[in-house]
Amino acid sequence: MDEFVEFSGKNVDEAIARACEHFQTDRDQLEIEIITGGSSGIFGLVGVKKARIKAKKRNNLRELELLIKDIIANLIRPMSPNPEILIDLQSEPILVTIKDKENSGLIIGRDGQTIAALQYVANRIIAKKWPGTSRIQLDTGDYRQKQNERLRKTAIYLAQQAKRAGRIMSTQPLSSYHRRLIHLALQNDYEVQTKSKGEGSMKKVLIIPKKRRRNKPFRNNRETHY
């Protein structure tokens, strides 16, 4: 995005006025950082210091919201002609929720494939049209919440299995976001360790028990898929 530019003046107000002039905009459209406040010295003679500030144009959030809405509406129009799209710009990544009860199943797709594809393409378009923005995360219905809950349960189940059998367990291949959820679900379980393994889209999470069973009849390190 735009870089900060430095301005100076007799006092802060004058420096800000110069910044406004430079960016051709009002004060409330600028993001301002004061470097030194400046001082007029004694009788304007001794110790006069100029005020220095840094300023840059504020990203117009309203515009970004409209852009995201427009992109999502265009992408899902054939599946969901009249959706309600809610955007939470304060969160990171930006949360975009599509409200359309009738079509949310279609938007999610089998194993969440469609929603993942929509999110990926939307993020590519946003990166192109609005460089430097944080990414978006798409949601519809209570998809994310349900999915998080399901992954947490899977993580706990696999950890139990790993401890009981003293063997390494493995999840199915998961996206980075989903792998993170597995790591987080088990970070306070001191009897197991989690580790990602694999390449590209085939990365999965290994759940490794601290107490490994020795002299196993089967091969060491054999992974069991869940």
Binding site: I71, N74, L75, R77, P78, M79, N103, L106, I107, G109, Q113, T114, A116, A117, L118, Y120, V121, R124, I125, K128, K129, G200, S201
Partner: protein, 77 residues
């Protein structure tokens, strides 16, 4: 409508939107959507390891389910 969807995505991703052309060849059950972009933009619509192309096909699949017909995307070189 399916053609418009692909055209929108492609035009939004490339550097030369004017060079994007999409045509739909309708068959009885399946229609083929052909996408043509400028040579230097080919990578943008295909993506790393075909990820963008795959995502477009997935979205097209969901959209065509709603329209009750099958559509396949061909990216022409």
């Amino acid at each position: 409508m399916l053609k418009d969807l692909i055209e929108y995505i492609a035009k939004s991703l490339v550097d030369n939107p004017d060079a994007v052309s999409v045509s739909e060849i309708e068959g009885e059950q399946t229609s083929v959507i052909e996408l043509k972009v400028a040579k230097e933009d080919l990578g943008k619509v295909i993506g790393k390891q075909g990820r963008t192309a795959r995502a477009m096909r997935t979205i097209l699949g969901a959209a065509s389910t709603k329209a009750q017909k099958r559509a396949v995307l061909e990216i022409l070189e």
